[in-house]
């Protein structure tokens, strides 16, 4: 099993969700986060007082899938989240050693 974690532009969330649904992914966890990579923040001015805002709003999507499906999910996600501009985000992939469904104690890929 693999965990796929993607940090994307907030306005791309709907497209990404649709793309994942289209390939049959029906579980995910979404968090509103703030951060920045190589994209720098922006300047705000309040009554002449300038503020440099470095941490920008982003959305983090986490999901765990069966290992053979990982590449397919990554390419769907990447295609949907892409604008081609700096600030599009990143995808990280982790090995997952176990998954347990709390309701009935199913384990492994059947619990996904």
């Amino acid at each position: 099993m693999k965990k796929i974690e993607a940090v994307i532009q907030p306005f791309k969330l709907e497209e990404v969700k649709e793309a994942l649904k289209a390939i049959g992914i029906d579980g995910m966890t979404v968090t509103e986060v703030r951060g920045h990579g190589r994209q720098k923040g922006h300047k705000e001015v309040y009554r002449g007082q300038e503020y440099q805002v470095d941490l920008l709003p982003k959305v983090k999507i986490e999901m765990v899938v069966a290992s053979p499906r990982a590449e397919e999910v990554i390419s769907a996600l990447s295609a949907a989240a892409k604008t081609g501009k700096i600030g599009d985000g990143k995808i990280f992939v982790y090995e997952v050693s176990e998954a347990i469904r709390i309701r009935n104690d199913e384990r492994g890929e059947t619990a996904l």
């Binding site: 705000e44 001015v45 309040y46 009554r47 002449g48 007082q49």
Partner: protein, 460 residues
């Protein structure tokens, strides 16, 4: 029904009078009484609405405007500072404030003839406003006594102890506001242009009484209390400009009661003041936005609403004396001038007037008070007459150059009273209970540390 009957009887009386059938004095007297009562009711209706409009400026107007400008952890504390004045300001006014402001005492402070609102009832006080109940006049003036100290709270926002703030408010209202209100508007007050003042200073709705006293006191507060912890290195940006926008819009509307209501009647002077008020707000917003657009590359909402308030402040003393075109000019100058004071002078001098109470009210009020002496005309308000009743010129452009000097003296007295009064009051309170919250409480925020609650509960 009562009204229809009175109109019917009025016309019947008028007809009888015209036909000469009733030459006895009694129908004429009845007619006069009916006319007087109709005018009184009309004026009273407008004045009661104005009272409500001015109260609306303090809360929700000012409470939202200031509340949005602070950080999230201080939103309730800031709103409470405005709200508590509706409570304390009212009680003080009822007990002693009205009498000290409008009792006909010395040139500097009123006497105790209206203590506990004695003799302040339905009959008009002809000295102040002959066509509205004395009690309406008292109410209208009370709303000014409430909002004035509330304006100061912008200077010490996010760091003053609530207990100290309450004490400050009480002492400041007693020692600075009531004397200033009496000097400018009280019968026989030193600066009263209409009721026998030695130095006739024109202040229609409170440029000196409200805005200079509060704005200059705000500067003293900022200097004596010191900066907020972390200012200016840590970011302290407004937590909700949406709230501030709503607050400023309510202030703009409420200001029609403040200025047009200061005509104390519902006639042409009220309309003229309404016009001047609105026009100045518009050009001041324009001035601030343009200055900001040129300097920082973007026109901001905060700049727009700050400019509008600056214009409303500056036109306040002038509103019942100037024609529409000078109102446009006064507003535009105020927008640029206050922008310069807030954006340039504050950072140059380094004081932490957190919400710019001095930059907007002190600076705008001073500019407006002086420009009133320049642009006032007798066509709008025949303030000065000679012994034979001939109308004399009022402002500088009309040929009364000395009026600008009178305005400057009025401004000077307001500045000195505000500086000395506020400084002494702050030092006394600091010695008794302390002015500031502890550094831990300041980090925690006023909402939790002073009031034990939070403005936004995101978990519930």
């Amino acid at each position: 029904m009562k009204r229809i009957l009175s109109i019917l009887s009025l016309s019947a009386l008028a007809t009888a009078h015209l036909l000469g059938q009733a030459a006895t004095p009694s129908p004429t007297a009845a007619l006069e009484a009916a006319i007087k009562s109709a005018q009184m009711n009309a004026d009273n209706a407008w004045m009661l609405v104005s009272c409500a409009l001015v109260l609306m400026m303090t809360a929700p107007g000012l409470a939202l405007f200031y509340g949005g400008l602070v950080r999230r952890k201080n939103v309730l504390g800031t709103m409470m500072q405005s709200f508590i004045l509706m409570v304390i300001g009212t009680v003080l006014w009822a007990l002693i404030g009205y009498s000290l402001s409008f009792g006909e005492g010395s040139p500097y402070i009123g006497d105790l003839r209206y203590l506990f609102l004695d003799k302040v009832g339905g009959d008009p006080n002809a000295t102040y406003a002959a066509t509205i109940p004395h009690q309406t006049f008292m109410l209208f003036q009370m709303m000014f006594a409430i909002i004035t100290p509330a304006l100061i709270t912008g200077a010490f926002a996010e760091r003053m102890k609530f207990s100290a703030m309450v004490l400050f408010t009480i002492l400041w209202t007693l020692l600075v506001y009531y004397p200033m209100a009496h000097m400018v508007w009280g019968n026989g007050g030193l600066l009263n242009a209409f009721l026998g003042g030695q130095i006739p200073c024109l202040d229609f709705a409170g440029g000196t009484v409200v805005h200079i006293t509060s704005g200059v006191s705000a500067l003293v507060c900022a200097l004596v209390m010191g900066k907020r912890k972390g200012y200016p290195s840590e970011p302290m940006k407004p937590h909700s400009l949406t709230l501030s926008f709503i607050g400023a819009a309510l202030l703009w509307v409420g200001w029609f009661g403040f200025n047009a209501g200061s005509a104390l009647s519902a006639g042409t002077l009220a309309t003229s003041a309404f016009t001047a008020t609105h026009f100045a707000a518009a050009t001041a917003a324009l001035g601030w936005i343009l200055a900001e657009w040129m300097q920082h590359g973007k026109p901001s909402i905060l700049g727009g609403i700050s400019g509008a308030v600056a214009g409303l402040v500056a036109i306040t003393p002038a509103s019942g004396f100037v024609k529409p075109m000078p109102a446009l000019i006064i507003g535009f100058l105020a927008g640029i001038f206050c922008y310069f004071m807030v954006v340039k002078v504050k950072s140059m001098m380094g004081y932490d007037d957190s919400l710019d109470a001095f930059g907007v009210h002190g600076a705008g009020g001073t500019l407006g008070a002086i420009l009133t002496g320049v642009f006032a005309v007798s066509e709008i308000n025949p303030a000065f007459k000679d012994a034979s009743g001939k109308i004399l010129p009022v402002g500088m452009l009309e040929g009364n150059g000395g009026q600008v000097m009178n305005q400057i003296i009025g401004v000077g007295i307001a500045w000195v009273l505000a500086i000395v009064g506020t400084f002494i009051i702050l030092k006394v309170i600091d010695a008794v209970v302390g002015l500031r919250v502890s550094p831990e409480e300041e980090t925690m925020g006023l909402d939790l540390s002073q009031h034990g609650e939070e403005g936004y509960s995101l978990e519930s």
